[in-house]
């Protein structure tokens, strides 16, 4: 399962689906202000793209695009974006996560600053959820076998 599968149909379909999944995930994150959606849903759809990639192209091919280490770092960055926006609001003289104070920095009305603050927070959530989903999937997928040891033996 971890090796490259030789099924042409599965591989081609995955290659066709992947860009649409990514675009749809970005749409769900960005359009959360107007329609159902947001960081959690968009992040899960992004992670589903990587799961599809593992199933169709194998673990090694996927590791080139999203390794465990990168996923761990991105999940930390996502939480850091969320917390960082909150601290930025504190520095600008408001309460924690009071996006209205970001208007001084972005030069828009406080209501629009809140809208942009929500968007920034949603992006942080999407990154964290996507990376954690990938991390959990990789960890469970490789738990039974010790891939590093296998490679050294070969």
């Amino acid at each position: 399962m971890t090796r490259d599968s030789h099924d042409v149909i599965v591989k081609t379909l995955a290659r066709l689906l992947m860009p649409f999944m990514v675009v749809f995930a970005l749409y769900v994150v960005m359009h959360g202000h107007h329609s159902p959606g947001g960081g959690f849903q968009g992040g899960v759809i992004l992670a589903a793209g990587f799961v599809l990639l593992v199933i169709s192209h194998g673990l090694e091919q996927t590791r080139k695009r999203m390794s465990e280490k990168v996923a761990e770092i991105i999940s930390s960055i996502g939480v850091l974006i969320y917390g960082g926006i909150g601290v930025l609001c504190l520095i600008l003289g408001g309460n924690y996560l009071d996006y209205g104070t970001l208007s001084k920095l972005l030069r828009v009305t406080p209501a629009e600053a809140r809208s942009l603050g929500i968007l920034g927070v949603e992006i942080g959530v999407a990154l964290a959820v996507m990376a954690v989903m990938c991390t959990v999937f990789f960890a469970i997928f490789t738990a039974g076998e010790s891939s590093q040891d296998d490679r050294s033996v070969k």
């Binding site: 996560l97 964290a128 990376a131």
Partner: protein
């Protein structure tokens, strides 16, 4: 001992169910949440946050601190997964060598 545990579970469960009887009915328009908080969010969400989707503005703005906690919970779950599964793999590998 098993009977004692079962009795405790049932007693606590009965107490919790008895506690829910005092709560307002599901979707009751006269409940405090429906008379104070919800109308404020519905009326002021657009002018406060310039976000047409009230769910998003409540989730990420009015209750932003709560959502931050949720994100940290997901992050912690991922880290726990790494620690449990990777630590187990390494120990098994050392055992074989």
């Amino acid at each position: 001992m098993k009977i004692l545990s079962l009795m405790t579970v049932f007693l606590v469960g009965a107490a919790l169910i008895y506690g829910t009887l005092d709560m307002p009915k599901w979707g009751d328009p006269q409940s405090p949440a429906s008379t104070h908080v919800s109308p404020y969010y519905l009326n002021h969400s657009l002018e406060d946050t310039a976000t047409p989707n009230v769910v998003t503005s409540v989730l990420a703005d009015y209750r932003g601190y709560d959502t931050f906690g949720e994100t940290v919970v997901i992050f912690t779950a991922g880290m726990a997964c790494i620690l449990l599964l990777k630590a187990g793999r390494k120990r098994r590998g050392n055992g074989h060598v």
